[in-house]
Symmetry: C2
Subunit: 312 residues, 2 copies
């Protein structure tokens, strides 16, 4: 069986299943589900089983390939277990396959009917912390200065998608890696907890402002199964430089996303596929502020909690 | 989005992807693969990613559902790791989803062009041992008699698919659970290693014969993730009673399969979907042999190593 490659759509319609396989098998497996399955579970599991079987028939998956996959899955869980749940290679594998970004789109995408789009969502990733402290506007998240860090004054306005008005008291939570490409969790020799993390509350005009670093690109870990998969796919392990933000307010849908310098070389091949056009930003030289050499203005647009957008 | 359920075929052709999702995303993920990917890896990974994405869009998988799945996968590996690799729940999950049986069919199915079908394959399962001893025809695999075991004289002929002639010296490897539903590995208090295991060599007429037990139905473990999945699907955890056999000869394609008593109540809903029509057998009362109360005749048909069968 020869498959057309890289068509980007399912082959199910193009490649009829080889007639040497039992055509009733998948239905038989689905039919063993009893009457008491939750409707959502029935929908998800039925679709999962159909796609799993269609995939296996389409590529004529062999016993050896399947057993290697079982071992691969067991290895993911071994690393999670032995790292005391700090290293989640299963999560990374999903990121590398584009799944977290896709599910983030499915869960969070809002198609505006106002002519203005809300700020795009991007994946949370594994490094957000619920313990980041509140800091004052004008303060800094740099607690442990790094020799090569380039300080940036970041500022902007949080506004309402529908009215265009500012959203006072929106919480602007930011976290980023240091200039060595490591987050506080990963770098206890150089960073104290909550270095390069902080929450800021937008003022009465919806404005926030603080000092942070120009972000630095980094590699995913290169010593585990996720890197083996990247190598198998002839892909690099780099994430473009990025700043994580999570903007929330009780009356709005929250927005978790990432911002990327426009001159980063990894934008189009981000290992986790989290770059979107409105998240690519321009860091500009800053003059007249002896605390920072760069400036980044980024305005965030939030959709009201009950906003539906276009319905499909 | 409403899905037709239980159609048994992929919905990809019926349910167009919701237009609110980026139609170029999957292609973008596939395009990051470099030029140095092995062709088979490119084929398998491309199809896997397409099906994974199509599945996610089709059911509109949420972040919470995806994260629960990541945790589920990590839990499978934890059990494998903490059981010192003796308990493979990842393997069982595949069995419950029909994947091992499907991949077994894909790998081993032979469509005959002789009018006679070779003996069907069925999954190996986790209990085969490479250490089963050779025993003499007429011997027994029952080393530790069980109070409720019903002894059976099993016999038959191994023959050639093409010529119909016997296959002398074929190796007939058998393993089975005891009447308590447990294999030697699982039951060290009652069973010594290699109880209910043995290899027999077919004689010059292709005949084998020995004593074993009428098999006993048993449940998969009910304390782990595979049982959680069965419960979510409103399914029972039972395997029908079965005898495992693996018949090999240097000049033939090996046949690994399982035999099931025709009156077993779990035949049509086998948890691992390994029952096929030609594997359902009739245990008959035996008279005149004081060693056994039952008789099972089972003839095995092997395809020559270079036999191609119908080509598709």
């Amino acid at each position: 069986m020869t498959l057309p490659e890289n068509t980007g759509i399912s082959n199910a319609a193009q490649a009829p299943q080889s007639s040497r396989f039992d055509p009733s098998f998948t239905q038989h497996v689905l039919d063993t589900m009893g009457p008491n399955v939750e409707p959502r579970n029935r929908q998800v599991l039925s679709a999962f089983i159909r796609h799993l079987h269609d995939f296996s028939r389409e590529v004529e998956l062999t016993i050896d390939e399947w057993m290697a996959s079982v071992q691969f899955v067991n290895e993911l869980g071994r690393i999670y277990t032995e790292s005391n749940k700090t290293r989640n290679e299963s999560h990374r594998i999903c990121d590398i396959l584009g799944l977290e970004t896709l599910v983030d789109e499915i869960t969070h995408k809002i198609i505006s009917d106002t002519g203005v789009d809300p700020t795009s969502s991007a994946i949370l990733g594994p490094f957000w912390s619920p313990h980041a402290p509140f800091r004052e506007n004008g303060g800094t998240i740099i607690q442990n200065p790094a020799p090569t860090g380039r300080v940036c004054l970041m500022h902007g306005v949080v506004s309402d998608l529908v009215t265009g008005k500012p959203v006072p008291n929106a919480v602007f939570d930011i976290w980023q890696a240091s200039s060595n490409g490591k987050y506080d969790f990963q770098d206890p020799d150089n960073q104290t907890p909550n270095n390069l993390r902080g929450k800021f509350r937008a003022d009465e005009n919806g404005k926030y402002w603080f000092y942070c670093y120009h972000p630095t690109a980094y590699s995913l870990p290169t010593d585990g199964p996720s890197h083996q998969l990247l190598q198998m796919m002839d892909r690099h392990p780099m994430r473009p430089a990025h700043i994580h933000i999570m903007v929330t307010h009780a009356e709005y849908k929250g927005c978790t996303t990432q911002l990327y310098p426009k001159d980063d070389p990894w934008l189009s091949t981000d290992t986790v596929f989290a770059v979107k056009d409105d998240l690519v930003v321009d860091f500009k030289p800053l003059k007249g502020d002896d605390k920072a050499e760069l400036e980044l203005e980024y305005n965030v647009i939030l959709a009201p909690k009950d906003y539906k957008g276009k319905v499909f």
